[in-house]
């Protein structure tokens, strides 16, 4: 969901909000206990949530265009692939419907995609979907889309919830079957806390699935990819959306996100069982799918 991330590029620019923080290439994200990274900048932990919220507060249709322009439409294929790979849904004759939770899924594209897949492939019309997002503006956008969609059929299967992904106060323990997060976990202040919470809210047998930007293995491809993302993306952001800094944050936060194996270890650390081979790379590793099973 490049779209999701990009859609959230904010009215308030991070650079403008951070006059006193010089860019830092610190290798550790937490030099002191109370700081974290925001792209390549080091900021106070309590500020990051606000900053991310700020970055993602405006939704505009030209970001959809931007999105397609920047990823050449590939983000749609990734999303589609992600949903197919999960192949989630209540099978005919199964005992109970599934409870889905899509985190950082404000606009609902993954959520609706999952419901669509379940109903088309398994005739599942009873599983429930909770869309959680920290940003009320994004949720409002999701609701608008929901009301216009076929899922608004009076069954109230889809609910929208404003929640911090790291705590999920409103979601009880062991209450969900499938936890999905697409292009969202990168923006968590404490990623491990988010994973621990995912473990908490899932039932035994539940699946954690994450689609996120990742790292390209092939050095030649990586060179081209880095040149493109650092050289062209902020420029395109400036030209198309008139917002260079948010796109600078986007590429920096991608670069800062843990590598595939490291992220896989974090999922294991949260308590999940990770099936072999741990992750699947998409488009040379520009994005990857991670899976964890709560046993």
């Amino acid at each position: 969901m490049l779209s999701r991330t990009l859609l959230r590029m904010g009215r308030q620019r991070p650079a403008a909000m951070l006059p006193s923080f010089a860019r830092s290439y610190a290798s550790s994200s937490n030099k002191k206990d109370d700081t974290t990274h925001f792209g390549y900048r080091t900021v106070n932990t309590e500020d990051k949530e606000k900053l991310v919220r700020g970055v993602f507060s405006l939704v505009a249709s030209n970001y959809d265009v931007m999105n397609d322009a920047m990823s050449f439409g590939v983000h749609r294929l990734w999303k589609h692939h992600f949903i197919n790979r999960l192949d989630a849904g209540m099978r005919p004759g199964a005992l109970k419907p599934l409870d889905f939770l899509d985190v950082a899924g404000g606009t609902g594209d993954i959520a609706f995609g999952l419901l669509d897949h379940a109903s088309k492939n398994f005739g599942d019309v009873s599983s429930t979907m909770t869309v959680a997002d920290i940003n009320p503006d994004m949720l409002a956008e999701g609701k608008v889309r929901y009301e216009a969609s076929k899922w608004n059929d009076g069954s109230n299967r889809v609910t929208f919830l404003e929640q911090n992904g790291e705590t999920m106060d409103a979601i009880p323990d062991a209450s969900k079957d499938v936890y999905t997060i697409a292009f969202g976990i990168r923006n968590f202040t404490n990623i491990q806390a988010g994973l621990n919470t995912a473990y908490r809210v899932l039932r035994p047998g539940g699946v954690f699935a994450c689609l996120e930007f990742s790292h390209v293995d092939n050095p030649v491809v990586d060179y081209a990819y880095q040149a493109y993302s650092f050289g062209l993306l902020p420029l395109m952001g400036q030209l198309i959306a008139n917002d260079r800094d948010s796109y600078q944050y986007l590429v920096e936060s991608i670069r800062r996100f843990p590598k595939q194996d490291d992220f896989s270890s974090m999922i294991k650390k949260a308590g999940f069982y990770v099936p072999e081979p741990g992750y699947e790379n998409l488009t040379f590793g520009v994005a990857s799918i991670h899976i964890g099973v709560k046993l």
Binding site: G93, D177, P275
Partner: protein
């Protein structure tokens, strides 16, 4: 007799950094648990999603666990089930070959042992014989070839090894290739076989292995003859050159 097999089947190369593992399938992983249970339903539903669905319901999981099987695999869950079945049958063959009480250990000849193992392995197909063609059709799909062939090679390698193969030249490859061929041919033969207890299939395996043995004998004889003549020619040339 068991001592004989363990002596015959000692591998020439031994790595201390990779302790020998006899675990072909890990039945403790979620996939292992799910597929093991699904195999119980294969005689009824075949290698289909229905078997997996029934296993999920039987184990009391919700359907979310199915994502654990599908999410990171390039292959369909049905193919995963077929492959799991093949691997678990190979594990069964392994356990049988190491069972001291098996008739297997009273057979001395390498080729007879190979034939015995092939027949034993084919016997494991009996409970699912109605669904075997379905499994084979999944195995030969172009995007599944690689893993299927690897599994077939592993099987023929195991058979050759337990039979006591000690070759270390091109015969090593030839034996494994021929055993794979015989296994596949016999399995296809078995699909058409209506005789009681698959007697005709057994006869077919014996015949094929005997042919392989005579082929090996013929090859060795030709090789011996060719070497003799080659050396003779060299010597002849040398002697002519010496005479000037």
């Amino acid at each position: 007799m068991f001592r004989l097999i363990s002596r015959c089947s000692r591998r020439a190369y031994h790595s201390t950094s990779h302790p020998a593992s006899n675990i072909i399938v890990n039945k403790r992983t979620p996939q292992g648990v799910l597929f093991s249970k699904a195999l119980d339903y294969v005689p009824k539903y075949g290698f289909s999603k229905n078997s997996i669905n029934a296993a999920v319901a039987d184990l009391g999981y919700s359907d979310s666990i199915q994502s654990a099987v599908s999410a990171l695999s390039q292959h369909s869950p049905e193919y995963g089930l077929v492959l799991f079945w093949l691997q678990s049958q190979r594990q069964k063959l392994y356990d049988h070959a190491l069972n001291e009480n098996a008739d297997f250990h009273s057979i001395g000849d390498e080729y007879s042992r190979a034939a015995y193992l092939i027949k034993e392995r084919l016997g494991y197909n009996e409970p699912i014989i109605d669904h075997l063609s379905e499994a084979l059709s999944r195995l030969i799909l172009p995007y599944n070839w690689q893993l299927s062939l690897e599994e077939l090679h592993n099987l023929s390698d195991d058979i050759a090894f337990y039979a006591g193969d000690e070759s270390n030249d091109s015969a090593w490859y030839a034996k494994r290739f021929l055993l794979s061929t015989i296994y596949v041919k016999s399995e296809l033969f078995m699909l058409q076989d209506s005789s009681a207890g698959f007697e005709r299939t057994h006869a077919y395996v014996d015949e094929s292995v005997a042919a392989m043995k005579s082929m090996g004998y013929s090859y060795s004889s030709v090789e011996q003859w060719a070497m003799f003549n080659a050396i003779s020619i060299v010597n002849l040339i040398k002697s002519q050159l010496t005479r000037g």
